[in-house]
Each structure stands twice: as structure tokens, then as C-alpha cells.
Symmetry: C2
Subunit: 456 residues, 2 copies
Amino acid sequence: MDIKEIYESYKDYIDKEIEIEGWIKKHRKQKEIGFIDLSDGTCFKILQIVYDKSTKDFDYIGKIHYGSSIKVKGKIIKSPGKGQEFEMLAKEIELIGDCPLDYPLQPKDHSLEFFREQAYLRPRVTLFQAVFRVRSVLAMAIHEYFQSHGYLYLHAPIFTASDCEGAGEMFQVTTLDLEKVAQTGKVSYEEEFFGKPVGLSVSTQFEAETFAQAFKKVYTFGPTFRADKSHTPYHVAEFWQIEPEVAFCDLEGIMDIAEELVKFVIKYTQEKAKDEMDYLDKQSNGKLLDKLTNVLTSTFKRVPYKDCIEILKKSQKEFEFKPDYGSDISKEHEKYLAEYFKCPFFITMWPKELKAFYMKQMPDGTVAGADLEMPGIGEVFGMSQREEDLEKLVSRMKELDMKIEDYEWYLKLRKYGTCTRSGFGIGFERLIMYITGMENIRDVVAYPRTEKNCEY
Amino acid sequence: MDIKEIYESYKDYIDKEIEIEGWIKKHRKQKEIGFIDLSDGTCFKILQIVYDKSTKDFDYIGKIHYGSSIKVKGKIIKSPGKGQEFEMLAKEIELIGDCPLDYPLQPKDHSLEFFREQAYLRPRVTLFQAVFRVRSVLAMAIHEYFQSHGYLYLHAPIFTASDCEGAGEMFQVTTLDLEKVAQTGKVSYEEEFFGKPVGLSVSTQFEAETFAQAFKKVYTFGPTFRADKSHTPYHVAEFWQIEPEVAFCDLEGIMDIAEELVKFVIKYTQEKAKDEMDYLDKQSNGKLLDKLTNVLTSTFKRVPYKDCIEILKKSQKEFEFKPDYGSDISKEHEKYLAEYFKCPFFITMWPKELKAFYMKQMPDGTVAGADLEMPGIGEVFGMSQREEDLEKLVSRMKELDMKIEDYEWYLKLRKYGTCTRSGFGIGFERLIMYITGMENIRDVVAYPRTEKNCEY
């Protein structure tokens, strides 16, 4: 059975013989009695095991190492000590898997960098037990939100011969032997698996649009790949992305959905991973839950880009980049605005030059796009209403010297039963960082992939 | 609002003015009255729209094409006709997006092959509305099962420098310019993003094992890639896979979980996608639900490999491949056994030569692995208890001439707190095919990727 089951209704197990397996998190033996903190990973809390002279092989048990896996037979009793309501009194403890003294995770302070190097062991560490459980619960929260609101979950393709947002950072896939290519001096595309160059998709938006025009409400949630060499705490080459796409929905509507989703997943995570969130909050000296509560109780403001520029100009603050209509909003500007509004806010209606070609064009030269900004982190994700008018879309693409013929089926969506549609794309890891308070993306990904780094 | 909401409680909307948007699935206009079947994709059923001379622009509306998107204002009324309990009486119908007469999906019979060529439009087709909704619901069923049983959802890495089951079919990724490699005659690994050859993972089992040794119960659910050139209705190069891994669990335990999971997801799908499953059942002349009901009401048999060989030998049937201890169970054998047992069954305890190196070795030369066989399809997926003993594992790897040093961290799991653990891997598309009755994997994948085929 799982330790979680005991915590869910420990009174049912009082004085009953049970068997439990797990790993030793702490072990202290005194002369007549010993204590083991046992974790089986099913719940964040440990189960305290007590053994004494009545337990079989008392002396032998006393020598079992920290990190070992054991099986315990015994019964749950009300705890005479403080710190826990119940504990397990062991009748027998059996060593399953020893953990010798060269175990890298000896119980002392290690740096996050040390844990990154021991990525295959770090899920056993309390902090990462919290982070990866929250990650799992948060993923379920995403599915729960969309499925309960009638969305279709689309598994969009990863392999793609086209490219949504510029090919610069796309990984190519190949089944050619590179050494042979070098030797023969020839790239035989006819020998490639797909018979042509194919890369790993950087966005599922276009495919999601095809399904939104059939199912109205769809979302994708899968891995995305970018050969991004930025060495920052926010970039990895492989990350998960959530991209909903909704037909008959305009920019206002998609902002409603984004706000509702963010609040839903925070609430869900706080409920389903309460112990983990409380732990992470303590790590942040109480700042984490305050920050999240502020999100839950705020109505997200919606402020046009031009008003944001006005606020920045009027601030009389010395910015490194002078705020100016037509220029991007920089990190320092985001920070100022976050302090100004004191709550999450959307910056809406951007000059079209600053945004992607597919956004809905307005008569005043802006596009119906918005970025969600959160205090303490800045831009979290962007969204837009898509241009549903074929002529306007093509004319914008021509302005940008894009190859119209590469977008044939995407454009045809505007020919056959077109409609208003909007969507957004959330980088899942950024969301996890925001909700766990972890400051480096490498610490919220099981096996992070970055430039020159693909271990495990 | 969504058509789904109306179906959920149509009585609440009777005689109330509402607005609804969707696409025209059928349009028949008579002299004084017109009928439109409207779909918005949120539910499998269509909403019947009635318009007449009292509706604004009666003649204009009559000319709106099949496939167009429209907005309808009007009210829900009890239907005087038969076939539906209610319908919508239109006050106004507004054309949003026209669908001209060259629309490829004209309402007539098309082949599945034709739809494959129109992959960006086929989600609008009734059959695919059913298939892709079932796919979505089934994905949620998987998450629901594991999360409600306390499993951790692990996003295992796709990029990998190692290879679980042999490199033959692995796609490589590269950021090198292949033309440049050919020109310079040199593969500059130092210029590769990762600085070394990296491929796309074919299994997440090893990474799942690292997490199972911390969280006890984990599962992965993500895309997997194989450069498999088999031209069969069962193979695509990009597919989704579900791989649970459970610590302190033996082969019997993992078979219990596999059986429970299969039954859970069938039941869940039948409940949450009832209309779609009824439609698919009709397509199969009632065979589909019969087949699934047989699964739900059966206790899956567990039969050792050697007993299966005995049954095959005693059958006195003329097989193309003679059944023999030590040889694999072929498709014709599976078929005979399925008819013999008349229910799903596991073939357990295989000769070690027929199975992967990591399976738990038994004293009699077998390994604790099992394949789940389902009547009508054969092997669905395999599972095993993993060898948790370091020495036995290494000695088997040496027998097979494997490079021990490539598996350093995997082996270390057996050094630090090892334990019994078991897992399985389900090809998600095969499961969808089984549950929808679709016979070609290309029809259950949104944008299938196969040899020489990577469109959209």
C-alpha cells in the first residue's frame, strides 16, 4: 500500500497490521529504540517508523543505510511524540536494496547546481519531490480545465516540413549518415526518411487552427524544440507548450479564457498539492503564496499598448531604453508597469510591426494581440485574434515578403468557412517556475537540454 | 454559446433568444421554409435550424453554401418534426465565412484515402469528428486513471544521446547545414547544438525508472519517433506512447494495473463520448461495442509462454510457422490462441532470448515479461518486471555484448536503493484503433508521418 493512503485516513489503520515499502530519508538509532523517516514518494509527507528491541533483528536494522529501500511490517499507532499524529511501530523490517556510503546524496546541504549534475537522483530530494509533483498536478490542471470546458485535445505533429515563426532556431531531423555525407560530398535527400528536409515544429498554432475550424475549441499540449543558444535561467532547447485555439472567439474572449485558466490552475494546484505548495512557500519566506493569492483576487487589467507607452513617458523615470510608440516594451518597462498596476495585466492592441503576420489587423495600424504580464516575472505569454480575412492576410504577408505558396492550406482555412478565431501559447515551464517560485528552468525540467548539454 | 450546452439542458433554452455560431453540414431550402444542420464541433450532434419567410433575408439565406460559417439569432423550440426533440427557429442568419463550390468536401461519398489527402479539412467530416473526439477523451482517460491513482506524470526528454532499444530506427537531430557538411567534407560535431550526436528517444522507460525510484508510481505520455519504413496500417514514424513504471511492483502487480487501465479507459470513453462511440459502433455493424463489452466483462487470463506453445502444438493445426519452445509467437499463433481463450490474455514468462535485456531473470531461464493479447488484434502491448539486481543485469548485458559504460546511471539505480519495479508501454494509436475500430493508423493521427510523407 501507499503512504498516501495512510495519510488520507490514518484512523482506519490504527492498530492494524500493514506492510509498507519505501526509502529511508532519515535514520537515527538510540540504544533501545530507532526512528526511520520513510518516504515512498506517493505523498510529500514521510511516515515515521519506530523500532525497538521487540522488533526482529534490532541491531541489524540499526545499521541500514540512509537511502536504502526497505519493507516494513507492523502497525499504525497514535504517536506519543509530537510532530506527527501517528507513526508505524515495526514488527519486522527487511532490507530490500542497500544504499552504500558513496551515495552522492548524503544528507547535507547541496547546491542546485550539484543536484543538476545528479539529475537521475535528484527526484529523491525533498525540494524536487515538491517541484516535480507540482509539475505533474499542474499538467493535469491544464487538461482538467480544457476538457471540462469541452475542448478537444489535439496531438499536433512534431515533424514538420514548414515553419510557423522563422526557421532560424529549428532543429533538423535526418536519417542520413553525416559521415557518409561528408565523404561522398553529396546530400541524398531521396535517401532521407521523408525524402526532403524536415524539422521539429516550434509551434502547433497552424494545425490547431485547422482543428478549431471543425471542433470550435481545441488545445495542444506537447513538447516543442528550439535550438536556442541563450544562456539564461529561462531557456531550454526542449520544453512543453500549451496552445489553445478557439473559433468564434475574439481578443476579448481569449483574454477572458487566459485569465480564467491561470486562476484555475493556481487554485487546482494549491488544492491538489497543498503540502508541496506549503513547502515551496516556506522556501520563499511566505512570498510565493502571497504572490499567487494576489493573482487569484485580482481582475486582470487590459491596457492598450499606446496607453502603456503614455504611462511610461509620463513616469519621468530614466529608462535605459526610452519608451516610444512603435518600440517594444522592454524588461525595465514591464517592471515599471507591474509596479504601477500592482496586478496581472494585458498589454493589448500592438503596432502591427511589433507582432506576427497572422494577427488580426485593425484600421488604426494596430493588431488584436495581447501579452499577459505578471508582477515579478514580466511577460508570461502572448495571445491574439487571428486574421480571418484571406485578402488582408495575403496582403500583410506580401508586405513582409513571405512566400505565399508555403502557406497554401493555412490560407485555404480563410477560403472555406472562415471565422473569427483566437488563441495563445503558454510555455509550460515558465508557468511552473511562476507557480513553484523556482528561478532556474533547469530545476523544473526532469532532464533539461541546453546548448552542449544532453545528458541522461 | 456551444451547441453542447443546449443539448445538456435544452429545456432551459425553450423560447429563449439565443445566438449560436457554427458550420453548415446540410442545407435544404423549400419554397416557404428552409432547414440547416448546424455543427459547431462542441458536440457530435447537429442543431437543426429552421428559417422561414419571417426570417430576415429569406431568399439570401437560401443561397448560403454548405460548409459556410454562420451566426444564427433565434430561439429554441420544441420540434414539430420527428428525428429531434428540439430545433432552433431563426430570426436572423448572418453569413460569416462563405464556402465556395470548389470546396473539396462536397457532400458525397469519399474514400478514406481521399480524406487523408485533405488532412487539414477532414476533422470537419462526421467520421473524423468521432475519431478525434474519442482520441481526445481517451487521452484524458489515461491521465484520469493515473492521476487518480496517485501517479506522477513525467515529461521525459525526447532528445537523447543514448538509446534504449537499439539505434537502428532512431532519427538523428542536427543543427549543421548538411550542404555545408557535403561541401567541406567534414562533420563538425563541435558546431552541433549539443556538441555530439543526438537522436529522438524511442522509449522513456529508463528515465521513468529513475523517477519511479523516487515517486513509486510514475507514467509518461508523449510523442515517440521511429524511422520505421514498414508500410503497414499499423506503423507511423511519430506516435504517442504511454509508459507507466511502478516501484515495489512485480509482474503480477503490473498485469493487474494493465488490466484495470484497459477496462477503465474503455468505460470512461463509452461514458464521455457516448454519441461518438454509438456512431462508430454503427459503422462496424454493432461489432465494436460487442468486442469492447467482452473486454469489460472478461477476467484477463494469464498463461505462461510454455503452456501457449503446448496448446498450439496440441492443436494439430497446420501453421505456417511451427510452434516450438524458444521461437516467437507469430500472428497466426496469436489468432489461434485468441479463439481458444475467447478473451484478452497475457502470455507470461518468456524465454529470455526472446525478450529485452532488462527483464527480470528467473532461475528457469525465462524472464518475468508478459504480452497482452486481445481478440481481433493480437498483441497490444508488452510489460515486464525489470531486473533490479545489479550483478544479474550486468552479466546478462555482457552475454549480449552490450557496452556496460553506456548505461552507467541506469545501472546505478540498482546500486542506490534498488527495488522491485515493473512497467509497460502502450502505443496510444494502437489503443485508439482498438477502441474506435479504425483499421488504418493514418486515420487516427491528425497529421500522420510515414516514409516519404510529411505534409502539413
